[in-house]
Symmetry: C2
Subunit: 512 residues, 2 copies
């Protein structure tokens, strides 16, 4: 076939025909775990200085308030308990731990198709947080959130292609008993999605019964241990540089039961961490390295996510802010430290300070999300649905976030430069022999679906078409999509026999 | 003073007191022209391949349709006119032109405080485009736009800190005569802002009268030539690889009169440029290099902005789309080619496909804007106010864009890593001797204004405060701000004597 015959006359009808054919999965333009890393907010010298400052902080300042068990693990590993009660970490100990840590972590999902490979700079977006409000986007109202809202968030996440995992985004405010809350959080999330799940425990004693439920869901302890599909999001430090005694005990329990751990250091830059971006990164890095030593001392190779998770602060009011440029830099800088250590890492992005899914929310969520992805962050937590600086979660915003994150992931995929994509042959054919445009070329048709991400709810119509459609409202479209999703039978729900057994053993608040 | 005494007890009152002091200009957290470049969408090998493909396209395909004058200039410089009417560019010619081009371009503004230094990777955000509609954000309506709308856009731009220049974003649809339209575009923009201005001409014959008006505004030809504050945005090519004959003649006229030129190649990827991101960048690069040869052949060292400006296409419909991830990559990739050539460059970002300033518009505008800035694009055109894939311009969105771009510029500024910002001393003092938090440290107070960008209209209040304020609506706030700006006397307006002279000489459509 000559170049000339590759040019077709009719553009639009040919494009329509090509589009009717379904796309093979490996040809989808974006997939979970595409590799980022082309954005490096820190120079190599900067990275080295931050690393060394973190080591110096660990060696000279250390961390206070380790539980007795932690003191035992850490001193046995080579850390030093000072007369001031602080545990200090010799540089060589930390370097050895970094060198020997688990670099090939896969976070499992109940459906293996949703497993997350955290090697290299593979990027995954998902939810997280502890919002106390559900946001009614259409009615512009905030109300306390409950277990049904959490379950609905799980069900919505289950069907959205660009939300790759579900860490609990909301607290079940309608369950007063903490043990019941922790157990129902697991029930509500696991029965709503077969994607990877993250959760927290309010008490070390809650881990064992939770594990009992997870064994039931997995089909026994061996199955659970082979593929643990729930991670413990663990705030093991109270910044600055203090262990959170009880959370450390939770962590020890989780490790015993084979549950992966997100070592989460959530300092507030300007309050519990230095106000500078670099300083907050240094401290978070030091704290997570301490956590890594701790985990490695308990069980070498245990799967850990390095959760340097500093938050921004509005220094005028002292209130948290997550939608700022400073937040985007905090998170991207942390991602680069993960890359430097070649450790699986997670941090927070996508937080809106705006109370509603409006233009402000759109720019706030995109800024930190796309920068986190371009920086190659493995686990981008709080990436969708989060409003009011983490106080509110919004189902409609979660759905719109799927479009937003699809676009961010397209940017993460980046620019492929090959002879084929540089298209000199096409250019020659089109300009010198052809029709003077590329609309109908085979290459254009072939890449229409493989290269381009199309929004689901985002509107690209012309003003004329938009008026003819009655000027569709974005929030109303998201609400309709939510109702459509929730009206369908969920593929993630437990089979009736398992469900009955769980309900016989535990107090489940969701209706059967 | 010991470290210990640096810690103050009262955080909030001290922060309030510090905030009352005005910030010196050089201490502002963000300024026009901060340096980007930490995001490199292309590897060094990719850049080299694209450069070589562009040279090969110029050498073997060349460009058609140069005007006779252009043929003369170009062949005299060493380009070759083929029997097929295409002008081809030997590799050595292009390399010499790149080497000898003007790298130290400053685009002047009527007020020198707004001059734009385009060296290195300094980033500036501004408007551009040829929208035919004005968007009424509150009423959700599109209507034809006119000269008053353009003047209002200029006046709004004049007071917004993060909109660094005004290229004409809208066409005066209420002026039927093309000469009057071109002249009134200059009048409406120059009388509305003292920032740098960009505009187009529909006919080469319109340049001379426009220059006459500009001489009047500048205070004579010498003053104009010393500091030309208006640039010609020139679509000198009709992609793929054809000169736009008449625009080239406009360009020749502008160069004669000392007006800087934006060499604008606006291919549509999938229609008038290859559908691949890499292919569209190759073609745009080739076309702008041809333009550069042309300008250098006329007047060596003439100030030029390298305007590789490819647009995305929704291949399903064949309609333009500017809010996609593909668009963000197109622009960021072009920025890296400018950096490679070390030439002043411009491209399009910030375009929303959304018809209104809603959440979709927010994520679309931020995505390409922040990536363009991080990639170090000198001139980010169409960065604010643009909707419906460039068909609509919105004053309220322009105002909200000021917040959005402030945040993007904070990201461009990046992370400073120094002993001071890494804050080990502070960490030591706070953890070991101090109050256990950083709220009242001198360092936190000192950096409250110098490091942090606060939104003007973006809302960071808690749900409770937000409810108490009556749930302020973002669009309503932007509209109120617009009315406030337009109700004030503009600092940019011409003095009455000059205005009378211009009105005596030209037909001015704006009321006096």
């Amino acid at each position: 076939m000559t170049q000339k015959t590759q040019i077709r006359a009719g553009g639009r009808s040919a494009r329509r025909a090509a589009r009717a054919a379904p796309l093979a999965d490996h040809l989808r333009p974006i997939r979970p775990g595409m590799e980022g890393g082309r954005y490096e907010p820190l120079s190599p010298t900067d990275v080295d200085r931050i690393h060394n400052a973190a080591l110096e902080a660990l060696e000279t300042i250390g961390l206070a308030d380790a539980p007795d068990s932690g003191v035992a693990y850490l001193t046995k590993a080579g850390a030093v308990l000072g007369a001031d009660g602080r545990i200090r970490f010799p540089r060589a100990l930390v370097e050895d731990v970094i060198a020997s840590a688990n670099r090939t972590v896969t976070l499992c999902a109940r459906d293996p198709a949703h497993d997350l490979d955290l090697t290299g700079t593979r990027v995954h977006y998902g939810t997280a947080g502890a919002a106390v409000h559900l946001v009614d986007a259409e009615g512009c109202n905030y109300r306390e959130c409950g277990v049904q809202d959490l379950h609905d968030a799980a069900r919505i996440t289950d069907v959205l292609q660009n939300i790759h995992f579900l860490q609990r985004p909301m607290v079940c405010r309608d369950i007063a008993d903490n043990l019941e809350m922790d157990l129902n959080t697991i029930y509500a999330t696991c029965s709503g999605t077969t994607k990877h799940i993250g959760t927290s425990f309010t008490d070390p004693a809650h881990v064992a019964p939770a594990i009992e439920m997870l064994h039931m869901i997995a089909g026994g302890e061996a199955a659970w241990r082979a593929r643990p599909f729930v991670l413990n999001s663990n705030c093991f430090v109270v910044p600055p540089m203090k262990f959170a005694t009880e959370s450390c005990q939770v962590m020890e329990e989780c490790i015993k039961h084979g549950m992966p751990v997100l070592l989460l250091s959530a300092g507030m830059a300007g309050a519990t961490a230095p106000s500078t971006v670099a300083g907050a990164i240094v401290q978070a890095t030091a704290e997570c390295l301490a956590g890594l030593v701790y985990v490695q001392a308990i069980k070498p190779g245990h799967p850990v996510v390095f959760g340097t998770w500093p938050f921004g602060l509005d220094l005028r009011s002292g209130a948290m802010t997550g939608g700022s440029g400073e937040q985007a830099l905090l998170t991207a800088g942390c991602a680069q430290m993960h890359k430097f250590y070649d450790l699986p890492g997670g941090a927070a992005a996508g937080i809106a300070d705006s109370k509603l899914p409006d233009m402000q929310a759109g720019w706030e969520q995109m800024c930190s999300n796309v920068m986190a992805g371009l920086a190659g962050l493995n686990m981008v937590y709080e990436a969708a649905g989060m409003h009011a600086s983490l106080l509110g979660f919004c189902h409609e915003s979660l759905i719109l976030g799927d479009d937003l994150l699809g676009q961010a992931m397209r940017c993460v995929r980046g620019i492929e430069v090959t002879d084929e994509t540089m298209a000199l042959d096409q250019m020659r054919a089109v300009c010198m022999d052809g029709p003077g445009h590329y609309l109908g070329t085979q290459q254009t048709l072939g890449r229409m679906e493989a290269d381009h991400v199309y929004p689901t709810l985002g509107d690209r119509s012309s003003p004329k078409e938009w008026e003819e459609k009655g000027k569709p409202n974005l929030i109303a479209k998201a609400k309709a999509r939510k109702e459509e999703i929730l009206s369908q039978r969920s593929a993630a729900r437990f089979d009736p026999e398992l469900d009955a057994r769980i309900r016989a053993r535990f107090t489940i608040h969701l209706p059967a």
